[in-house]
């Protein structure tokens, strides 16, 4: 595997930022896109564009087929049982809202408990919070230890007969913690509790097998998986999609509409109301093919190498403090620099062409636990090299000079 070649697939890296070569270390936020994805988008709009599922002319037939091909690719990519278990949404946030809202309507009564963790992104907390506000649910937070690992025993203790669902991230977007989902699902299923997994930070980086994980719901954001913006994925076991009520209502998700009564389409169409991000879904197929052409194992290996190298090197810089030290860590490295606020770090390294993120990364609960208002975060994608890490480290040294 040649990273130079892979990197050259991403047009953005032929650009300069602030006169410097772009060192993109913000992939946890959103990934860059390979040529093949952009070509697909462009080609679809230029040569094949039509709305899907409604008209029956040739353009529409072709577009509908391509759209469904992506669904099939995703099914294979995450090893779902059927392509009907794949619902397209606008982003992972909508996917979680879909589940929280429809599951809540059917299953959450006053006093029922929802179990999440201290690692969760706001997108995996606010939708459940709504159920607290509207239906009187109780939200419990499984705690993490000082390494950033969820304390599984504590999680277990928090489960009661009132626990109706567990919602947990697969990989933390702050500490990079890889959560032992299989264990959690096993614990949950023993007590008949369904589990939603937030796969935003895992999809492009580690192997996903929903059948093996046996989770009930799995959500992905395509823009983090080398795909276009505007598309998210909800995987759900078919029994759930069939049982839960519909979410967004409108064209395309109905069966029969009368003045006094409406029946809904079967799954997955039941959950795809209105005109979908057709071109973006079609192009996302190329993202999956791109990942498959490299091989997820090779991606994991490469990203681990870069991550280990980064951790090693950052530790040699005095005054760098790395957040969390989980048992299994993906390519997400949050850190602080003594005496320098993360926002100042970001501004200064940006001057060197280095894009990192500073802030709470939509994880205020975790930051409160850490006792920090903000951290700086470097996150790794398939295109990152050791050279990128070297430049990051040099620019961190520059921060220290500015503040000396």
């Amino acid at each position: 595997m040649n990273i130079k070649t892979i990197k050259s697939e991403f047009p953005i890296f032929s650009n300069k930022v602030n006169g410097k070569t772009l060192v993109y270390l913000d992939s946890s936020n959103s990934s860059q896109k390979p040529k093949s994805v952009l070509n697909s988008l462009d080609n679809f709009y230029k040569n094949e564009f039509s709305n899907i599922g409604r008209s029956i002319h040739s353009l529409a037939v072709n577009a509908t087929n391509k759209y469904e091909e992506t669904r099939m690719s995703i099914k294979n990519f995450i090893n779902a049982s059927s392509k009907d278990e794949i619902v397209f949404t606008k982003n992972a946030t909508e996917s979680i809202n879909l589940v929280a809202t429809t599951f809540g309507q059917q299953n959450i009564q006053k006093g029922d408990e929802i179990l999440i963790t201290e690692l969760e992104h706001h997108s995996n907390y606010v939708p459940w919070h709504y159920l607290r506000e509207t239906r009187g649910a109780v939200i419990k937070f499984a705690p993490i230890d000082e390494n950033g690992d969820i304390i599984i025993d504590k999680l277990k203790e928090l489960i009661t007969s009132k626990t109706k669902i567990i919602s947990v991230t697969h990989v933390s977007n702050v500490t990079g913690t890889i959560v032992p989902i299989k264990d959690i699902v096993e614990i949950a299923h023993k007590r008949n509790i369904p589990v939603l997994v937030d796969g935003c930070q895992s999809a492009p980086h580690i192997k996903i097998n929903v059948k093996d994980l046996d989770c009930d719901f799995y959500v992905i954001s395509c823009h983090k998986v080398y795909g276009p913006t505007g598309v998210g994925i909800l995987y759900a076991k078919k029994k759930w999609l069939e049982k839960l009520p519909p979410y967004i209502g409108g064209g395309g998700m109905i069966s029969e509409v009368k003045k006094d009564k409406i029946t809904y389409a079967s799954v997955p169409e039941k959950y795809e109301a209105g005109t979908m991000p057709t071109a973006e879904v079609v192009a996302f197929n190329e993202s999956i093919k791109f990942i498959q052409s490299i091989g997820i194992e090779n991606i994991m290996k490469h990203e681990k190498e870069i991550t280990d190298y980064a951790l090693e090197k950052l530790k040699t810089i005095n005054s760098v403090n790395i957040i969390g030290n989980p048992k299994n860590k993906a390519g997400v490295i949050s850190f602080t620099l003594k005496g320098i606020h993360p926002h100042d770090i970001s501004t200064i390294v940006d001057e060197e062409g280095v894009a990192i993120r500073a802030g709470h990364h939509c994880c205020q609960i975790l930051h409160e636990k850490l006792g920090l208002a903000a951290t700086a975060r470097a996150s790794i994608g398939i295109y990152n090299t050791k050279e990128d890490i070297d430049i990051l480290c040099q620019s961190i040294e520059k921060c220290r000079k500015v503040f000396e």
Partner: protein
């Protein structure tokens, strides 16, 4: 794609003058089918006699030429056969449409094969497959005494 393959004379003729149209009293089985994409509806009425033979088979509904012809041809092909043969004809048809297969069945005579094959052109028109299959799925549903309406969005 070839429009002539789709709109063969036999299709146009059945489409215009569907056989076994209308409801009859004393049916033993009934089902309702619906294609949400175009709003087409079909109702199947069926009488199985004591020997489990399809004594009578009619339909009501409206739809495109393809769906009317397919339904009409279906009633002609299935009527008079035993339950099991009827079921077999249904699966031969659905197989042909879905997998683009030739008809090799020994349960059908040449005339029947020609009739069923007249619908094979639908293959080339994926958005029209549901027009052709709705009635067949609905008949199967009637025979199985299912309560739910057949919905083409579910059957594929």
């Amino acid at each position: 794609m070839d429009l002539k393959q789709l709109y063969q004379d036999i299709i146009l003729e059945h489409g215009k003058s569907p056989r076994n149209f209308g409801k009859f009293n004393g049916y033993s089985h009934h089902a309702r089918g619906h294609n949400p994409l175009c709003g087409d509806l079909v109702q199947i009425y069926l009488k199985l006699n004591n020997e489990k033979k399809v004594e009578k088979l009619t339909f009501e509904g409206s739809g495109c030429a393809i769906s009317m012809a397919s339904t009409s041809i279906m009633t002609e092909l299935v009527k008079g056969n035993s339950f099991d043969v009827a079921k077999n004809i249904i699966s031969i048809f659905l197989n042909m449409i879905k997998n683009n297969l030739d008809i090799k069945s020994t349960e059908l005579n040449e005339d029947q094969k020609t009739k069923i094959m007249s619908l094979s052109g639908v293959n080339q028109y994926p958005m029209r497959v549901k027009c052709a299959t709705l009635a067949w799925h609905t008949l199967a549903s009637a025979m199985d005494e299912k309560k739910e309406e057949v919905n083409t969005e579910i059957t594929e």
